[in-house]
């Protein structure tokens, strides 16, 4: 019977989310009843769940059928932890139990991230596409329960939240309370028409980003540039600079395009999922960059990692100087983000560099404040702050980000340590 199930799953073609035009055609066709019902003020909960499940199953069919079993086991695991902690938190509130719940919730992800590093690049059997993003959702719930702001949870809403089909593979990362409010309410007609309008725009823009621009940068430019750079070899060469920009733009247009699809499909389902990108390459400084790049991830880290680290450091008066506190917290926060990407030196270096950049960013702001104060006391005007200084900030931030993306891409690892000419 198990054998039959596996054979059946293997026989179904595998469809990656937003992977090909046919996927959109089928998805939009299945969405029509949901959209029509929503227009008349109703949410087809059961139908929506069935369609979502169907599209989730085809993500993991074919050769990757074992991921479906990993997903089911994972969801059972998270459900037990979240609901057990919820039951516990109603009566008690102790740190060890809270920490234990968070640890158990993260444990599968740790296994999946560490396995390739210690097992010759082979993936863990516990892994499935989207495991990180499901983990972010459940860990946030445990933290909000500890804070006492998330009091009531429902099993059906929890499962729908964890397995929300449009965002299951790569986000944006939603929050339970926000999701529940959208799910339990249907937008009024005017608001829904507004959502449809945005969804259509995001779908078109997403196509342009992912299938035109990301294809141009990531395939037409990047592939030959990489080959040239590797042929020359050495520490650094001109084609590698080309790889840097081509990869950086490919990363942005590919991920921003995907995110627009995810947001568009969520909007059609009447769920106002948060946006993930806001013109990141226009950021005048690195802190602003992280308010505009992969926003739902950086805000998750801000709320559930950075602020918690700062809280512990300030509360226990670990450092006298607040600048030391914030610097330590920035670096730890970005390092953890680096480790989350994967246990390879270039991800960790990427996190470290961004943490250091934030420390420098803050030091510069303090320096500027101090100088301006002195200038004011001396009767002089403040340091120039105009469109030219802003342009300079944008250029510096952009170059820094591109350099770190080159590191992030793993290409330098290949060029320096694994270049088989």
């Amino acid at each position: 019977m198990m054998q039959g199930l596996i054979q059946w799953l293997q026989s179904i073609p595998n469809w990656q989310p937003y992977g090909e035009p046919k996927y959109f055609a089928w998805l939009l066709a299945f969405l029509i009843p949901i959209v029509v019902a929503m227009f008349f003020g109703r949410r087809l909960k059961i139908y929506q769940s069935l369609v979502s499940l169907g599209f989730i199953v085809v993500m993991y069919t074919g050769a990757s059928y074992h991921q479906l079993f990993a997903l089911v086991a994972y969801v059972v695991w998270q459900t037990i932890i979240v609901f057990a902690y919820h039951a516990y938190r109603k009566e008690h509130d102790t740190f060890p139990v809270f920490a234990g719940a968070v640890f158990l919730a993260i444990l599968p992800l740790i296994f999946v991230k560490v396995t390739p590093a210690i097992n010759d690049g082979n993936n863990s059997l516990l892994g499935f596409l989207g495991i990180s993003y499901l983990t972010f959702r459940s860990v946030a719930m445990i933290m909000e329960m500890r804070d006492g702001v998330l009091k009531e949870i429902k099993l059906s809403t929890f499962l729908r939240f964890m397995l929300f089909m449009p965002t299951i593979s790569s986000g944006p990362i939603d929050r339970y309370r926000r999701f529940e409010e959208d799910y339990d309410n249907v937008p009024d007609r005017e608001e829904y028409l507004n959502l449809i309008e945005k969804a259509v725009w995001y779908l078109m823009l997403g196509f342009f980003y992912k299938y035109v621009l990301a294809y141009f940068f990531g395939t037409i430019l990047l592939v030959p540039l990489k080959a040239q750079a590797l042929a020359i070899g050495g520490f650094l060469n001109w084609p590698t600079i080309g790889v840097m920009y081509a990869y950086g733009f490919d990363l942005f247009f590919d991920f921003a395009g995907y995110s627009m699809f995810a947001v568009a499909i969520s909007y059609l389902m009447g769920i106002k999922i948060p946006m993930n990108f806001n013109q990141p390459f226009k950021s005048p400084n690195i802190k602003d960059f992280w308010n505009r790049w992969h926003i739902s991830l950086s805000f998750w880290f801000r709320d559930f990692v950075f602020m918690r680290i700062v809280f512990v450091l300030v509360k226990n008066k670990i450092f006298k100087n607040r600048n030391v506190t914030s610097s330590v917290a920035y670096i730890l926060n970005m390092l953890i983000m680096g480790f989350w990407h994967g246990e390879y030196w270039y991800y960790i270096a990427y996190g470290l560099l961004h943490g250091l950049a934030m420390v420098v960013n803050d030091a510069w702001i303090r320096k500027k404040k101090k100088v301006n104060k002195e200038r004011r006391l001396a009767g002089k005007g403040p340091l120039p702050s105009n469109k030219w200084t802003k342009a300079l900030g944008i250029v510096v931030t952009f170059q820094f980000v591109m350099i770190t993306f080159l590191l992030f891409s793993g290409f330098l690892d290949q060029l320096w340590f694994h270049n088989i000419k």
């Binding site: 933290m143 909000e144 804070d147 006492g148 702001v149 801000r302 709320d303 950075f306 602020m307 918690r308 700062v310 809280f311 300030v314 509360k315 607040r322 506190t325 914030s326 917290a329």
Partner: protein, 79 residues
């Protein structure tokens, strides 16, 4: 001293900013509060008023102005 005056003094001590004239202004947009400052303010409020402010509650929507923070403190003190 009432809560409002104490909060104004607290923010002045922590961030060297006087918010007495801008009690309805968004403190994040004004560059007075950021995520670091938020936590410092939470710890200071816990010590001063003996209340527990959840880190995930001091969000950027509901606790973002002087007056809203005062209202929040009063709410938690009476809870």
């Amino acid at each position: 001293m009432d809560i409002q005056a104490e909060l104004i003094e607290m923010i002045d001590d922590l961030f060297m900013e006087d918010i007495s004239d801008i009690m309805d202004e968004d403190l994040y947009n004004a560059g007075i509060l950021d995520s670091m400052g938020t936590v410092e303010l939470i710890v200071a409020m816990e010590e001063k008023f003996g209340i527990k402010v959840p880190v995930s509650e001091l969000g950027r929507d509901d606790w973002n102005t002087g007056n809203k923070i005062v209202a929040g403190i009063k709410g938690l003190k009476n809870a």
